[in-house]
């Protein structure tokens, strides 16, 4: 043990350089701890003040589903797909699908906008939900006031508890909505509204426009078969080629049902002379 104690004694013995250093420091003002503590505290506070909001905020770009704090005062809850970017006074969100609930702290001058293909919803201090559906973009305001500018041209100011829908600007979505309404046996007028809205934004003569018209025909067959036959005849007479054979067949059946062979043959001769076999298939000579 003596050797171990000697090792300790030698290791803890002061060298001449240590004594000289001590001699130089005696009488000098000591390093004060209080200013160091204050400096460290100030530096920590400054780092927190600068870094905390950034650390809490998520990176701009694609938003993950679920709740997120974008910047201090702006909280969102996403079910779907969306992206965001910070702006000078707030945040700009782009909702592609699904639903996003947005909470903006009032009184902080935060400017938050949610953009969809159909609308731009802009808010200063409120909470609201933006949802994309077959109808278009649906905005529900929980509290505060929200400005909704539909791409179609309407701008409205909504208060707490109010809802508005910006209709979809995509003919494909209108077609989907019309088909969905047809499948769930919605009133014919609703289906035809969707068809007309789709036709208003679809390229004339396109397959989408033709499909919309055929869905409109299907919607009318039960309620107003004569109108459906007229619509089909108009489609075929104006050179509609999309699903033409099927349209001719359906029209021939419809005309036969309304007026027998005479009407079927007359209708075929007027709108589809290229298909004489259709009448024969119905047993008409």
């Amino acid at each position: 043990m003596n050797a171990e104690l000697r090792a300790y004694r030698d290791d803890t013995a002061a060298r001449p350089g240590d004594v000289e250093r001590l001699r130089r420091t005696i009488g000098r003002p000591k390093r004060a701890i209080a200013p160091i503590v204050a400096g460290v505290a100030l530096a920590a506070a400054a780092i927190l003040a600068v870094a905390w909001p950034r650390a809490a905020a998520i990176q701009p770009g694609e938003l993950a589903e679920g709740p997120s704090a974008l910047i201090p005062g702006v909280d969102v809850d996403l079910v779907g797909a969306a992206a965001w970017a910070p702006t000078r006074a707030g945040a700009h969100l782009t909702l592609r699908s699904g639903e996003i609930a947005v909470g903006v702290a009032p009184g902080k001058g935060l400017d938050v906008a949610v953009q969809t293909p159909e609308a731009v919803v802009r808010v200063v201090g409120t909470a609201f939900t933006v949802r994309r559906s077959l109808d278009g973009t649906v905005v529900d305001v929980r509290h505060g006031r929200v400005s909704v500018a539909c791409v179609a041209g309407d701008t409205s100011l909504l208060g707490a508890g109010e809802t508005t829908t910006c209709p979809t600007a995509s003919p494909g979505l209108w077609l989907g909505r019309a088909r969905a309404l047809l499948e769930k046996h919605a009133p014919t007028a609703e289906v035809l509204d969707a068809v007309r809205s789709g036709l208003a934004v679809a390229t004339p003569g396109s397959a989408l426009a033709a499909e919309l018209r055929l869905v409109g025909v299907q919607a009318q067959v039960a309620d107003d078969p004569r109108a459906a036959l007229d619509e089909l005849g108009q489609y075929l007479a104006t050179g509609g080629q999309h699903r033409r054979a099927e349209a001719v067949h359906q029209g021939a059946l419809l005309a036969f049902g309304l007026g027998g062979c005479a009407q079927a043959q007359a209708w075929l001769a007027a709108v589809a002379p290229e298909a004489p076999g259709e009448a024969a298939a119905l047993g008409c000579r």
């Binding site: 171990e4 104690l5 290791d11 060298r15 240590d18 001699r23 000591k30």
Partner: protein, 164 residues
């Protein structure tokens, strides 16, 4: 100053343990000594007076070491020599230091002064201001504690005998 510098630094290092900056404590000790220079009796041995000041300063530094651990300190003294030998010696010294850390302040004090600095119990009694018997009884208690704990620190158990 030259006569007492190394001794005061050594006391600060050994009594303070690893949590105390010996340079810092020694600087405080000499500042206090200079301030109280007039209290020193030129006809008496200055040892007990210097030691009492150092012991008080080290005790203060140990109380503050929780705070001071956040600041850089210079606990090591500059050694010169064989690097490998130094490393081995330093490792042993660290183990001894850890073992001494298991003693009470009173026991550590007499162990450092008697066994590390190789003073007699009588000398230590005069330095610390204690009867020689008290120094020896503290050494005996310290020895028992050290023997119990030495193996846990990888050290031998053959501590010096305490004289009659």
């Amino acid at each position: 100053m030259r006569a007492w510098g190394a001794r005061v630094l050594g006391w600060c290092r050994r009594l303070g343990g690893p949590g105390v900056d010996p340079h810092d404590a020694a600087q405080d000790a000499f500042t206090t000594l200079l301030r109280r220079f007039d209290d020193l009796d030129p006809n008496r041995d200055p040892g007990p007076f210097v030691y009492a000041v150092v012991r008080g300063v080290v005790a203060n530094h140990r109380r503050k070491q929780w705070w001071r651990r956040w600041f850089p300190t210079d606990r090591e003294f500059a050694g010169v020599g064989d690097p490998l030998g130094d490393a081995s010696r330093r490792a042993t010294a660290r183990r001894v230091e850890a073992l001494l850390g298991e003693l009470s302040d009173e026991q550590r004090e007499v162990v450092v002064l008697c066994w590390v600095e190789e003073r007699s119990a009588d000398e230590v009694g005069k330095l610390v201001g204690l009867p020689t018997g008290t120094v020896k009884s503290r050494l005996r208690l310290a020895r028992e504690r050290l023997r119990e704990r030495a193996a846990a620190h990888g050290l031998e158990e053959d501590w010096p005998e305490v004289g009659p």
